[in-house]
Point group: C2
Chain length 441, copies 2
């Protein structure tokens, strides 16, 4: 669940002065944002806007085929890539804020089972069945990398779909979010193991244990520490300033620091950002302005008729609520679409032009679908199909496996393309499928 | 009024993978944001928070002298620099939004006079009096560069002070903002002329006219076109989506595109962003959600007592108002402090250690103060001292002159340091002075 485009693209050298580059990027960002918003037209045919952004990204990123190269430089620009990555960190932080750690704990065991099966099954399918069957004659290591690339879910896509459709509070969404955290930890461990096997031919149990311990310690530790210090942070910083700016800065910094810590430990930064959002609670911000005002007004309108009161209450709630989630929303509006459109732009349509590669890729993709959908069966008494499909999107981690495998000389260009096509298909097909499942219930 | 740190610092090569770099930047941004917020403690001694951010930046940027080098890499990082520049663009766009083109027109002539005198006087003082007097024996070209570096105001500082103190709607603030736009145009023309003289020994009237025409045309053209198309933009895009996201995206994109156009023409991007904000008006967003709801509620509470009504109205207004300025506020909270803290970080305290250079610099700085404060006398029937001091801060453009002069071999290291010290002093002294003037009235 790391960052996609950075992995599969090389940064270009920048020409011209830095002011000129900055001005050009202002235009680039504006163009991408407007394109993203135009793509929200997909909502009119009942699809989540994230699908529109991904597809718009695929279109813009491949205009080079028609001789329009404006977007080639843009998608390779490291500042755009950073803003995109910042966007997905903000998104997962925001989703963490909207989630509640006690609600998450309720589904923890289900999440864990879904994650384990969703990692083991695709790995076995890819390494021992689909790989050797569709691509005979490769080395065992190559099959290992194919299997490994099928393991980790890219939760950003699914989370956006649930968010777009207002379903983040369902048990299914919680199970998927929790399972994605577990599955990122497992992905990290598998990456370390297969890399070690590829380079050294074997891996020690000590190494595996150490990586596992580090990842588990980080998750448990950050959540425990977060729960312990969060209540004091708000009180401490409210002594410096009680404005909205302080509150927002505090929340964002908390999210960014957790994202950093996750990155240091080798986990995806978005896992850290999600954990940070999870442990922050509106009550930690009670020392900041406006809460009293809102309570006051509620008393004032006590004599009004019920329906009027309800309407005014809604507005006031939204005004007071503003103090965390709503303050982050504009930053999210600004940065999150950049992530999805840049993710789409990284898709190279040309890889779809080789018939044989495409056929093999379809086989591998079916293994990718099957493994996760079957894992959904472990989700307990919920809509299992929703959980299973929610785990389907593969992204950055799959591409990291492919990139490392290629760098180590373990997999060739054809296998690399197969993995990329698998990522593309799982990413693009999931949003409409989840939308349709949600509409049926 | 271009971007400061990018001009005086070279970008370092980046090591490590891009995910690691991104994770490290998450931490860096969080640290800078928290430092900026802690610096808002200066408000407790009656100073605007922008001063705190600048001083905090100076401290952090010079911790290298104490052996702490964490911030050296941070201030040289081009992504941090871009975020800072994006921050000042957002700030001027926001200030443009809070300003009104018809109110600005009223003070247009006063702004123009202030700008002309505030450019001519410091130029003459620097080139013909202070320069030859304090630094005898240099070439005429060197004096030209010293004079030129004193001309252009860095309006970001003053604008933030007025904003911090809630004085953006005063005629003085309007005159300063308008004069800063004119003076940036004149600065651009002077830069072209002195550069031509330095390289070719002379400059044609045709070149001067062409640069002037381009700059004037851009400003007039962008404002006219903006006024003509803004009303239709809102209507057009509301057909795609009427959500808050669309509204915010539209506004930001508008600002970024104007910033880009200004940059293309050779003006500072912030001049474009300010113009964009100026032509956008709340009425252009009436096609988006929530306006009707607010009107409804106002009717509902008609029977309540006056004071209760007023309180509720305030909250509701703020809720409805949210739809432009308030939506941009969180983005501003996130990015604007980065600009001021990075500006402070670019200050190299070491240049203050050479006694002789420092003395000359103080002389040049006095010329810089005098020129602008006297220009304030042309401001008409307002608080002239406020306007004059408001024009005092020099920044990016002064540093650009110094950098180009050094690159052309026209000025030496000592003169370069003199200009940097002048920029530092005018930048750091203005916020407390303006604050005190405002408190006196």
């Amino acid at each position: 669940m790391l960052f996609l485009p950075a992995v599969i693209m090389a940064a270009e050298d920048k020409g011209g002065s830095s002011e000129h580059q900055a001005a050009a990027l202002f235009l680039g960002i504006a163009v991408l944002l407007i394109a993203a918003k135009i793509s929200s037209l997909v909502e009119k045919i009942g699809q989540p806007s994230v699908l529109g952004e991904l597809v718009m990204g695929v279109i813009l990123g491949n205009l080079g085929l028609l001789g329009i190269h404006y977007f080639d430089a843009l998608k390779a620009n490291e500042i755009i890539q950073f803003l995109a990555e910042l966007g997905v960190v903000i998104l997962l932080f925001q989703i963490g804020l909207e989630s509640n750690i006690y609600e998450m704990k309720k589904v923890g065991l289900n999440s864990f089972f879904v994650a384990v099966i969703g990692v083991v099954l695709p790995f076995v399918l890819g390494t021992y069945i689909v790989g050797p069957w569709l691509l005979p004659g490769l080395s065992t290591k190559a099959y290992l990398f194919i299997g490994a690339s099928l393991t980790a879910t890219s939760v950003g896509i699914t989370a956006r779909v649930f968010k777009d459709l207002g379903k983040l509070q369902t048990p299914e969404a919680r199970i998927v979010l929790g399972a994605a955290v577990f599955d990122d930890v497992m992905g990290l461990i598998i990456l370390a193991i297969v890399s070690a096997i590829a380079t050294m031919g074997a891996v020690s149990l000590g190494t595996i244990s150490w990586i596992t311990a580090k990842a588990v310690l980080f998750l448990v530790g950050s959540i425990v520490v977060g729960i312990l210090i969060a209540p004091y942070l708000g009180r401490f910083f409210s002594k410096i300033h009680t404005g909205v700016g302080m509150k927002l800065t505090l929340a964002i910094s908390f999210g960014l620091i957790f994202a950093y810590l996750a990155g240091v430990i080798g986990l995806a930064p978005i896992v850290g950002a999600f954990a940070a959002g999870l442990v922050l609670d509106p009550v930690h911000f009670r020392y900041f302005k406006n809460h009293h005002l809102v309570e006051d007004i509620k008393k004032d309108i006590d004599d009004l008729e019920e329906d009027k009161k309800k309407k005014i209450n809604n507005v006031i709630e939204s005004y007071s609520h503003r103090h965390i989630e709503d303050l982050i929303e504009p930053i999210s509006v600004f940065l999150v679409p950049l992530f999805f459109i840049v993710t789409g732009m990284a898709v190279n349509i040309k890889v779809l032009f080789n018939g044989q590669v495409l056929l093999v890729a379809l086989g591998v993709t079916i293994a990718a679908f099957l493994g996760k959908i079957l894992a959904g069966l472990a989700a307990g008494k919920v809509k299992k199909a929703l959980v299973g499909w929610g785990m389907v999107p593969r992204g950055e981690v799959g591409l990291i496996f492919a990139t490392i495998g290629k760098q180590l000389g373990v997999i060739n260009d054809a296998v690399f393309s197969v993995i990329i096509i698998m990522v593309i298909i799982t990413t693009l097909i999931t949003p409409p499928v989840i939308t349709n499942i949600l509409k049926k219930y």
